[in-house]
Symmetry: C2
């Protein structure tokens, strides 16, 4: 990363964290140049970049200011207690499917979408990589590639782990049909029907569906929107219940956007080792952090082979290609064999495309552009919520990803809100699909994964009006 | 199909069935011209084609003769009784994996291979279809295509059903990660752990692994190499046991190559209806029939929605792409939802490639070439077995596919044979991996899916010598 890029990232972090408040004047170019020991032109370049990202504003003869958009009128929600401390049978699938079905219409404003706008991905470049990959692979490899995954792709993924400070043997890696297959295979490797699994609350709805499908019981651990899963509650539950696995998102948790900081990651790992409980670390959003450095996963600490770290290209590069992976620790062999008995392998051409793209396509450049697009879209949605949503609404401010979690006044029923919004061509993800016990009735997840337009702004206005009717 | 093609197919069928014996003189061009009411040049064209396929031979001034290769020195095996009539726990997976692992070496003569030679597939043409499909699809469709499968592909598959005489509503179709995912999802839709499932004996080893993985118990029904699964035994078992599903291959059963004729398909369907038992009809080899017409599946009779008909492009067009499907009858919705919770969808680019190829690539032309190649390779392997394998060996003569099933003298141990053969660079699939009870110790499946070369011939000589050491 160049000097001016690093400076820009540092300032962006200060703005995101509220250290530099909306409307506040930035230090002058001269001050920064002196304090950081860089040339004035480096500071100019950094500020120019922040201006292009919509984070700051130049006022003639006055200097640079944090944009008003980044105000913090709506508060951040606190941690919500989980309803009932008991382990719950999961029966949320019908609700989830009926909601997901209702979100299918391509013409709605896609605040309910699970994917970012596909226009943000380098799909034509990937298609060229696929043609090249297929040409270079030869016909024998199309069959051979079904065993153990594309070697070039495995190498590229292992390389990114090393660059991120995680050493792991390549043979821990299993390439999968997206992170969803990885998570399914891992969970099946370490549980039997009826077992208890600790999950987050609120949780990614698909994890609830998987538990239901495998007849597992959920022990819901509350998540703090700022700090991640509540480790005190987890420690208590691990001590009292025969929990067979934890399934957590350590970064940019869906739907809250919460991340565990370094000390909490260490504390979580110590708990796993103490209780000999494996962790499914679902890290599908890892590459969508807004900060300058990718956070390291709990997997980085994993001497014991207890962590199954699941990643994916679906949210950051190649939606629809269905390529993900797991670094499965001591379960690697069981997971690979289980895959051979169910789907055999992910699509070989899709693997070849991604392997070639990672090597030649400019992945890191794409990721920087994508993160900046998402960051400015987040600012736009936060600002619109500030302006249009009723007083007493709360919202998260995640440091990455493309979801905001809203906690509306208690009187709001988000399933009813969804019906009203869909009638007006606006989708959203209502709170109850994120909970085994169908809580969070007054909450909703909104996606800012699509470019912000006048239509998005009008949709926020209309949502605000609908919220006021409750 | 043109007139001369139809005539060639009719003669090929007579040769395959032994009506025209090896060495026998074919009717003269004049005779055939008169009896079929076609021009002499049509007969010439047909005979020319059969000569090119290696089935007949022209002798100057004597006419055309059935090639000597197609002799029948080795007998066809009979039906083998299943060991023990009880339902069996399945525990064959470790054996299967250790055998499959040993077959990985790319340098062996691949008689143990599960796939035909990839050189027989139009992979460069498919790669062009993929590039075109991706270009025409646009970015939104890469995400949208994850729900319900590529519409163009669904349409093409439904069209082939209609052409084959099967009417089915398009919404019964679920596109899957190969037939393996389809079979897994279907079985999970209709069973719970501990349930009984009727399977064939010998059976495709992967079906045994799936039963083991899902903790299902196998009721093995013997298969007659000529007539397919024994319906009397099946009727008896259905009457006595609470069987929750049947999993059969109605055509070119793996490993025996047996197919059910029309009356047996009807009888099987009547049994399903009488006992209200669903059928997983695994039809992965349907397109590899050597006869002129594709056989219709049991699914064609399925008024009741009991049949889940699973197909795949992996064995006939696009290995490694991992695209198959199921026409799932009344389970279609359950199967689609179960997929959304496990792998979400098959790779969208792979689906687009196959959709474009089916529409523009010349699929039927490719299939004709592939069938003819396999048919002549079968002749070559049968002839080599005749020459080199010990007296008392028996072999199947399937009307399609790329597997022969050998029954050696009782003293032969095929697991030991495999070890000896591998040491000499020859692979094969030993009998015990095809049985829940690890029977068929003196049997083996050999693939003729690769072009026949001097090396193949030498490998058969060497196998014959190894067989003689038992």
């Amino acid at each position: 990363m160049k000097r001016y890029e690093r400076l820009a990232e540092d300032v962006a972090t200060l703005i995101r964290r509220g250290v530099l408040a909306p409307g506040e004047r930035l230090p002058s170019v001269r001050q920064v140049s002196r304090s950081r020991g860089v040339s004035p032109s480096t500071v100019f370049q950094a500020y120019y970049r922040l201006e292009a990202r919509g984070l700051i504003l130049a006022r003639p003869r006055s200097g640079y200011f944090v944009r008003d958009q980044a105000r913090r009128l709506l508060e951040t929600p606190g941690i919500s207690p989980v309803r009932g401390a008991e382990a719950a049978e999961v029966a949320v699938s019908e609700l989830v499917f009926s909601v997901l079905d209702s979100l299918q219409d391509a013409d709605t404003v896609p605040f309910g979408s699970a994917f970012p706008c596909p226009g943000l991905f380098p799909l034509p470049r990937l298609a060229r990589s696929m043609a090249k990959g297929l040409r270079e692979m030869g016909s024998e490899a199309v069959v051979a590639g079904m065993t153990g995954g594309d070697p070039a792709l495995r190498h590229q993924i292992a390389r990114r782990y090393v660059l991120g400070g995680v050493r792991l043997p390549v043979d821990e890696l299993v390439i999968t049909n997206g992170a969803m297959e990885a998570l399914n295979l891992c969970l099946q490797a370490v549980t039997r029907p009826g077992d208890l699994v600790a999950i987050e609350s609120p949780a990614f709805y698909a994890s609830l569906q998987v538990l239901e499908r495998l007849q597992l019981r959920a022990v819901e651990i509350p998540v703090d929107p700022r700090h991640g899963v509540d480790l005190d509650v987890l420690a208590d539950r691990l001590g009292r219940w025969p929990i067979k696995a934890c399934w957590f998102m350590s970064h940019l948790q869906n739907p809250l956007g919460a991340s565990l900081d370094e000390s909490r990651k260490r504390a979580l790992y110590d708990l796993l080792v103490e209780h000999e409980v494996p962790l499914l670390e679902d890290d599908a959003y890892a590459e969508l952090h807004f900060g300058p450095q990718p956070p390291w996963p709990v997997k980085a600490l994993d001497e014991a082979g207890l962590v199954m770290h699941c990643g994916s290209f679906s949210k950051c590069l190649a939606p629809g290609y269905r390529v993900g992976w797991v670094a499965a620790g001591r379960q690697a062999r069981a997971v690979a064999r289980s895959q051979l008995m169910t789907t055999i392998s992910p699509s070989v051409p899709a693997q070849a495309a991604i392997a070639d793209y990672l090597q030649h396509g400019g992945y890191d450049r794409h990721l920087r552009r994508l993160r900046h697009a998402l960051e400015s879209q987040q600012q736009a949605m936060l600002a619109a919520a500030d302006r249009h949503f009723p007083a007493g609404s709360r919202v998260t401010r995640p440091e990455g990803g493309y979801f905001l979690w809203f906690e509306f006044p208690e009187r709001v029923d988000s399933l009813q809100l969804l019906r009203l919004a869909l009638a007006e061509g606006i989708s959203l993800a209502p709170g109850p699909i994120f909970s085994a016990t169908q809580g969070y009735r007054h909450c909703a997840r909104l996606s800012y994964g699509h470019p912000w337009t006048a239509r998005s702004e009008r949709a926020m206005v209309r949502l605000g009006e609908l919220l006021a009717t409750f």
